[in-house]
């Protein structure tokens, strides 16, 4: 096929003869002489065969070179074989895009956690209650309220109020503990300052101080507003990566995974913070932190991979608690920190009778205790406790 020219005004081509010069190409169409400097030329083909030239800025004109002219042109103007001539980005552009992407991600990693605190502190109570509604609907979906836990919940709330009073926790009148039936040992603090304790956690605890240690930890989350901060961080991450790094598939998965790792780090920071503050509460209320250390030891034991003999025993160990793993600092370190602040000679946080009532919640079986609780701890809660802020929720609903 011969070299042809299209003028960009009609969809036809004209056969022509090309003169390849040092700095320009020239060709004649009818009476008109066309001279195109190399500096104004760009490639309109993709480099896979014959050269097609256009001008920059684009006039719509095209020059379709035959094989001979294509070869001559590339020798005379090698720049027309460079990526730039095709409009393909060079390594500099790719480096700039990569830098911009990771800079945006870095800004997010710094800005969202930094902004989460002030934003969380200014969330109006009405919106906090709406968010709590959602949390409760999720909890109600996989747990069941225990009808027989009213007395046990009152005992736990009394102990919680006592330790909050000793540490002057500002929102102590709003905190309310609910016991639920769930197939895992855990406790959660919610945006409306509720604390949910599962029956399996109660069953796992062998001494009241172990359970109270966990409750102190959850109170610390409430005092430091960790729950709302975490929600703001998560929502911020979702928005940021949906918008900025839209797209789909594995690329977006990598982007999202990088954020989850970052928020996990901050979440672990919150957990450490809650651990330390919870130990302060226990200290101030005269409750031995060794109880919490023993519970952590038990968690650590559960998190340990099973040995071959245990695997052969098939079911000797349950294989850990995923809910306690992901966002918490290493359990052994937490146990060591709690044990370091243990003091001897303190009485248990509940009487034996109270502890038996708590253990019996949700149809629980009262098991032999590893350490007997005394009948009258010196720091027992006063009988004229102020009423808790929220009434006990009906089954399957949330407190007001």
């Amino acid at each position: 096929m011969q070299t042809r020219y299209a003028d960009g005004r009609a969809a036809i081509t004209h056969v022509t003869t090309l003169d390849v010069g040092t700095d320009t190409i020239a060709f004649r169409i009818g009476e008109t002489e066309h001279v195109w400097p190399y500096a104004e030329l760009r490639r309109a083909d993709d480099g896979s065969g014959r050269v097609i030239l256009k001008r920059h800025p684009d006039t719509g004109e095209r020059l379709y070179l035959d094989e001979t002219d294509s070869a001559r042109l590339i020798v005379a103007a090698p720049g027309l074989n460079a990526k730039r001539a095709f409009g393909i980005e060079g390594p500099g552009t790719i480096a700039a895009i990569t830098g911009a992407a990771w800079s945006l991600a870095a800004v997010f990693l710094l800005a969202v956690p930094l902004g989460a605190g002030p934003i969380a502190d200014h969330v109006p109570p009405r919106y906090r209650a709406q968010i709590a509604d959602i949390s409760w609907s999720q909890i109600n979906a996989f747990t069941e309220y225990c009808d027989d836990s009213d007395e046990a919940a009152r005992i736990l709330n009394d102990v919680a109020y006592r330790i909050m009073q000793e540490s002057d926790v500002p929102m102590r009148d709003d905190v309310w503990i609910t016991i639920v039936d769930a197939p895992f040992p855990n406790a959660f603090a919610l945006p409306d300052h509720s604390i949910v304790v599962t029956d399996d956690l109660i069953a796992l605890a062998e001494h009241p101080d172990e359970l109270v240690g966990v409750i102190a930890h959850e109170i610390a989350h409430i005092e430091h507003n960790h729950i709302m901060k975490n929600i703001i961080r998560s929502v911020g991450a979702g928005i940021f990566f949906d918008v900025v790094f839209g797209g789909a598939g594995a690329g977006q998965m990598v982007a999202i995974a990088s954020v989850n790792l970052a928020s996990l780090r901050y979440s672990r920071g919150d957990e450490t913070d809650a651990d330390l503050r919870g130990l302060d509460y226990l200290d101030a209320a005269g409750i031995d932190t060794a109880g919490l250390a023993r519970l952590f030891d038990r968690f650590a034991e559960q998190e340990r991979p099973p040995t071959e003999s245990e695997e052969e025993a098939d079911g000797e160990r349950s294989g850990g608690f995923p809910t306690m793993l992901s966002s918490h600092p290493a359990t052994a370190e937490r146990a060591a920190a709690a044990r370091a602040r243990s003091r001897e000679g303190l009485n248990p946080s509940m009487t034996d009778a109270e502890w038996q009532i708590v253990r019996a919640a949700c149809g629980g079986v009262v098991l032999p205790q590893s350490e007997p609780a005394p009948t009258a701890p010196p720091n027992a809660p006063p009988t004229n406790q102020p009423p808790v802020a929220t009434p006990l929720p009906a089954p399957g609903t949330k407190p007001d």
């Binding site: 299209a6 081509t13 980005e89 945006l104 598939g249 594995a250 690329g251």
Partner: protein, 370 residues
């Protein structure tokens, strides 16, 4: 000269699988490296590659769009689409009561129907305006809003008719698109050949409508029968099934892939018939088009595209676009000669922004051949 006796010119597509795969892999790698921000450049490079390998009468198509235009379009869509979407999807559920939040989200999805239609129109307009042949630009007249609301109405009729209005709706959308398409200053036509536009589509549609649910139920029955037989013979115990979640995931994946195969297979006759019928009704300056899409070949190319997309976690989705483009152009011919000497350049401006909503809805699977 009748259509049957007019000289036919075949389109050609010379894209090679490995060549395009190399570009797709490079794009995938850079997309991972840049946390997907490279997608505008990747899409542009892939379109350039696919367009330049498509030719008519020996002259290739040319894609003149740039990544900067796509990026600019995306930035425009941030306040116009993403901010309302963020409010409805992220903020409303946190600050409104559940009923209000539900209705807001439901309303958003209802509005999403015409929005997606508008996005398709805008995307097509952008792509056509960046496509040249012999230096002459294609373009799309009309407004996206007119197409969006008309398409919304047809969607309602499709829903009310349990899908049976779909053949008419499909032809209506094609007619509206093609009657607004221009090559330079020459309009395309969606001709009236004296027959209903949906002629020949009803039997293939009925086949898909009835065959899919029947074969879907049959597949589920077979899968569960095989599962029950395996458990029954003791090859796998119920305890092993519950102890090994990957087994359940594998069964779920097998069911989903079976469903995909069934959907593609049951609807392939209808899709092939609709593609051929639409092509047969398109005309430019008296020249007509003819497409020879067949059920089994269309099924094969669609299935291959989906498998590549699924097993590459979406990273090689442009390969599916490539397979479709190559399939169509290998089977497309133009019958008759438009008077190319009389077709002049379009005088409408190109516009500077890219596809905006198209990116927001992720419509194009990385290529954007709508």
């Amino acid at each position: 000269m009748t259509v049957e006796t007019a000289e036919a010119q075949s389109f050609k597509h010379e894209g090679r699988f490995l060549n395009v795969l190399g570009l797709a892999l490079k794009n995938a790698g850079l997309s991972l490296l840049t946390l997907t921000l490279y997608r505008f450049w990747a899409r542009t490079a892939m379109r350039r590659r696919l367009w330049s390998r498509t030719s008519l009468m020996g002259d290739p198509l040319e894609y003149t769009g740039t990544a900067g235009e796509l990026l600019r379009g995306f930035l425009i869509s941030l306040p116009t689409f993403f901010l309302p979407a963020i409010f409805v999807l992220y903020i409303a559920p946190l600050v409104f009561d559940p009923a209000t939040a539900f209705w807001l989200v439901a309303g958003f999805y209802v509005i999403g129907v015409p929005l997606v239609a508008a996005a398709r129109y805008l995307m097509r307009r952008y792509q056509l305006s960046r496509t040249r042949w012999r230096g002459i630009r294609l373009w799309l007249a009309g407004t996206a809003s007119a197409f969006a609301w008309a398409s919304f109405g047809w969607t309602i009729l499709q829903t009310l008719s349990l899908g049976w209005y779909s053949p008419v709706a499909r032809m209506n959308r094609a007619k509206m698109m093609w009657e607004h398409t221009r090559f330079g200053d020459q309009p395309f036509e969606f001709i009236d050949d004296g027959e209903p536009p949906a002629k020949g589509l009803w039997w293939p549609f009925a086949l898909g409508w009835f065959a899919f649910p029947i074969s879907y139920i049959a597949t589920l029955f077979i899968v569960f029968a095989i599962g029950a037989a395996i458990v029954g013979t003791g090859a796998i115990t119920g305890e092993q099934m519950s102890a090994n979640p990957m087994l359940a995931v594998g069964i779920a994946a097998a069911v989903l892939i079976s469903m995909l195969v069934l959907i593609l297979f049951c609807w392939a006759p209808y899709n092939a018939a609709a593609m051929n019928r639409i092509a047969a009704l398109i005309s430019i300056d008296g020249a007509r088009f003819k497409l020879r899409a067949k059920t089994f070949s269309l099924f094969a190319v669609s299935l291959a595209g989906w498998m590549i997309t699924i097993f590459s976690l979406g990273l090689l989705a442009p390969m599916a676009g490539f397979l479709q483009v190559r399939y169509v152009f290998h089977r497309l011919e133009i019958i008759g000669h438009p008077k190319f000497a009389e077709i002049g350049q379009a005088i409408v401006p190109e516009g500077k922004a890219g596809e905006s909503l198209g990116d927001a809805f992720d419509l194009d699977m990385g290529v954007g051949v709508i």
